[in-house]
Symmetry: C2
Subunit: 229 residues, 2 copies
């Protein structure tokens, strides 16, 4: 298996969507070869019929989009540990995935984009600046303003996660599932790019994040990052 | 089985939490006797060890809190249609429940509280006013201001639901599950108390709401309400 991943300076894998799939592959116990690409290498993804990472190649199968990759892995490797815990878990998992996309990543976007820019090779910085300005109407410098306000908004958006983790150890219940990997992907974007402390030590979400960093022999904890705790 | 339910003037059952359980009981095909109570009847719930509806009495079992009632029904009646679709569905269902509580109901609170007040028997209006002022710092009259702004905020909060329902017919996947009943409870609060149009006809969430109204032989559609569509 090959996983096409975005990798920036010093080996920082910053994409929350790539992290969802890295964790899902580890969850299933499936080894793979990494194919690192940069923002300027989108032509290398042309074979997948679109231009975004992650892309998984498994024999003759080519799958893009982290949600579709998770569903593919669940269906193709049903005897490996389940990512969804049944049909109901997959159905509710889609909502959770979309909630992460719009709410968690929406709140992380202005926080993590400047650090992502700082890790982008010089040749791709103009592209990066322009594409992010198109999406948000903001320059990288404008995005750097007032992190505490943005962290507070993120904290509020995470409230239903916090309440859930007060009642169960993982979003998947008594064991991690794809929703855990999904949410964790966003926190890995922060960890690999930025030095903000997003969560207090006593926050159940932070305690969960620490457990996620420990999974799979500390795979995520060992990855090149800006944050070290 | 007996279900203690909040019922206001003209038989309007306004509680979103009661509606979650009404739908869950219909989903399981379990008949029950309704015990309607008002805001002034909280002493009638003392046997449950707390003072909020819904309370389900099933033989010797007394269960309060809509989430705990759903889990109770799933465990006590495993041979009836499943509310969660497996362990993963229950685990992710808890997050969805908390998301509804904080995001959907949070956005409906200022919209639906005035209409709820209007349906409250005169004897309980002072209690209602005071308790809602304590929670929100607002009078009923202040809450009536600028519904369009509040409807727009609700619309934004519903975005991950909308994206999910663009890909599958129900939050439960190809059939309704407890997350559907959970979200629908909030919309029944609106329908039974208020005449706002919250959703456009072409919104996937509205199309789903119409399907929910049709479930169980149109049970929810037939209930006394302010909205009629």
């Amino acid at each position: 298996m090959q996983l096409y991943e975005l990798v920036l300076n010093d080996g920082h894998a910053v994409s929350p969507f790539v992290w969802r799939v890295r964790m899902a592959l580890a969850h299933k116990g499936l080894p793979y070869d990494s194919v690192p690409i940069g923002y300027g290498d989108k032509d290398k993804l042309a074979f997948s019929g679109q231009d975004r990472v992650p892309v998984l190649v498994d024999g003759d199968d080519v799958v893009s989009d982290s949600w579709r990759i998770a569903c593919y892995l669940e269906d193709a490797y049903p005897d490996r540990p389940s990512l969804f815990g049944g049909a109901g878990g997959r159905a509710s998992g889609l909502f959770f995935n979309r909630w992460c996309d719009t709410q968690q990543l929406g709140n992380l976007f202005l926080l993590c984009t400047p650090g992502t820019f700082d890790l982008t090779p010089e040749a791709d910085q103009a592209y990066f600046r322009e594409s992010r300005f198109e999406w948000s109407g903001m320059t990288i410098e404008q995005m750097r303003e007032d992190p505490p306000k943005k962290i507070a908004a993120l904290h509020g958006a995470l409230e239903p996660v916090r309440q859930t983790l007060q009642e169960q150890a993982w979003l998947g219940g008594d064991q991690p599932a794809f929703p855990d990997h999904c949410l964790f992907g966003g926190f890995m974007w922060a960890r690999t790019t930025s030095d903000f402390r997003l969560l207090d030590a006593e926050d159940p979400v932070e305690q969960w994040r620490q457990r996620m960093l420990d999974l799979f022999d500390g795979m995520a904890r060992k990855a090149p990052a800006v944050q070290q705790d």
